[in-house]
């Protein structure tokens, strides 16, 4: 096996950074959206569901293009950020956003499955004990959604590690700066002579995601006390 070059090590570091940041960033939003869809009746729920699931249905490259339109200098969000002196395109932040958007539907779905399995009587019980909705949310719904949360965030993390199409478009493929593992693999696979390096990176990627998967499972088991 060929040893890893310094840009490979950079790619590994960047990938982990991106995956961790994307997952952590998405958790509160994902939880909020899943809660809204599962427990709250409101107008325009359909619209929320559509938006959340959009990135799943579209090829990641297309998602990347849409993000580019949104966050680019002339995009409506990008132009605002530009005024504030913030540039996202071609930075690691953009990679994080790309991963977060692409993985978001997976997180929300997992959370919803978990939330839907919660016995409504438990929520009733907390209400009769004086808990207001946000209190119930934090002390009953959140802990009981932990299995879904753990599953969802590990899905999201793994997906982030593999995210390629949207990332390469909004973050570019700049070694040492925005080149994550999938982009590095793409580069290696471009030349027939470096197939082996591509395989090595694949392996690294798999090992990382496995570590995370197992950590999550152990966490989930510890966090809820059931028989």
């Amino acid at each position: 096996m060929t040893p890893l070059s310094s840009t490979d090590l950079d790619a590994i570091r960047l990938s982990i950074q991106v995956a961790v940041a994307a997952t952590l960033l998405s958790l509160p939003f994902g939880f909020a959206v899943a809660y809204l869809i599962t427990f709250v009746r409101f107008r325009g729920k359909v619209v929320v569901e559509v938006l959340v699931n959009l990135p799943l249905t579209l090829p990641p490259v297309v998602v990347g293009y849409f993000l580019l339109l949104l966050l680019g200098r002339h995009g409506w969000l990008g132009s605002l950020l530009d005024l504030a002196g913030i540039r996202l395109i071609f930075t690691l932040k953009a990679a994080v956003i790309a991963s977060a958007v692409v993985g978001f539907p997976l997180l929300v779905r997992s959370l919803r499955i978990g939330m839907e399995a919660i016995d409504p009587q438990l929520i009733h019980a907390s209400r009769t004990l004086g808990a207001r909705w946000h209190d119930t949310l934090l002390t009953v719904i959140l802990p009981l959604s932990l299995p879904g949360l753990a599953a969802g965030s590990s899905l999201m993390f793994a997906r982030s590690l593999g995210e390629f199409g949207a990332t390469i478009i909004v973050a570019g493929n700049i070694p040492g700066i925005t080149q994550t593992i999938p982009l590095a693999i793409y580069d290696y696979a471009a030349s027939p002579s470096s197939d082996e390096m591509a395989l090595t990176l694949c392996l690294v990627s798999v090992v990382i995601s496995l570590i995370v998967l197992f950590m999550h499972e152990i966490m989930a088991k510890k966090m809820i006390r059931r028989d």
């Binding site: 966050l71 395109i89 570019g172 070694p175 700066i177 471009a190 002579s193």
Partner: protein, 224 residues
């Protein structure tokens, strides 16, 4: 200073070598290189991605940026040319006409891959389009075409000479006559943002130096 490059992926090796040797004589210069599909690069530049120099795999995307006033028009030049070849297992075919004997032929998707567009053009001109219609496999890019040929999934593939030279199993079976397709050109230019970057201009000049031409030649590109 720094120079931001947005370069078509097929030029990766060439530009890596050229930027390294340029950096040797300019120790304070840092290159930030972004390789990708020409269309994606153009869209990124349009969205404000930092780029001083843009090298496209076809003139179309250069024109796209030019129309949007994102290119320093005066700096546009031809960086290199490429040649379309047919690569595959030795002995499968030795000319366009013999292609009809083959079962499966790979080429880049004509709509999205310049090499595929050129290959399609050549097939049309040679009058083989209808004959081969059912045998064509459209790949995402040139690299995939070559991979199919290398692994024997197809009998042969239309690829650039520069790619074919890197192949291990597949060999160049024949060179597609230049008369059948428009020239494969790689235009380069300073972007509007890169106009003021002296280092970028210097590097662009270096890209047209004789030293650069010999490197291009080494990788199979032609310069005239």
């Amino acid at each position: 200073g720094t120079v931001n490059l947005s370069v078509a992926a097929s030029l990766k090796e060439v530009i890596n070598e050229l930027s390294d040797s340029f950096a040797k004589t300019h120790p304070n210069l840092k290159f930030i290189k972004n390789y990708g599909a020409s269309g994606a690069l153009a869209k990124q530049i349009e969205s404000g991605a930092p780029a001083d120099i843009f090298i496209s795999a076809n003139p179309e995307w250069m024109d796209y940026l030019k129309e949007r006033k994102l290119i320093d028009t005066s700096s546009i030049a031809i960086f290199a040319y490429n040649t379309l070849v047919f690569a595959g297992s030795p002995g499968k075919a030795s000319s366009m006409q013999e292609l009809s004997r083959l079962e499966r032929i790979a080429l880049g998707s004509p709509k999205s891959v310049p090499a595929g567009e050129y290959a399609m053009e050549a097939l049309k001109k040679a009058g083989l389009e209808k004959l081969l219609e059912k045998k064509l496999v459209m790949a995402r890019d040139v690299r995939e075409c070559l991979m199919y040929a290398e692994r024997g999934e197809v009998d042969g593939a239309f690829v650039y000479k520069t790619d074919a030279l890197q192949a291990k199993q597949a060999k160049i079976l024949f060179v597609v006559p230049q008369g059948l397709y428009s020239r494969v050109t790689y235009p380069d230019a300073l972007t509007a943002a890169g106009r003021k970057n002296k280092d970028a201009a210097a590097f662009l000049t270096y890209l047209h130096s004789n030293e650069a031409k010999s490197v291009l030649g080494k990788y199979g590109f032609s310069i005239y």
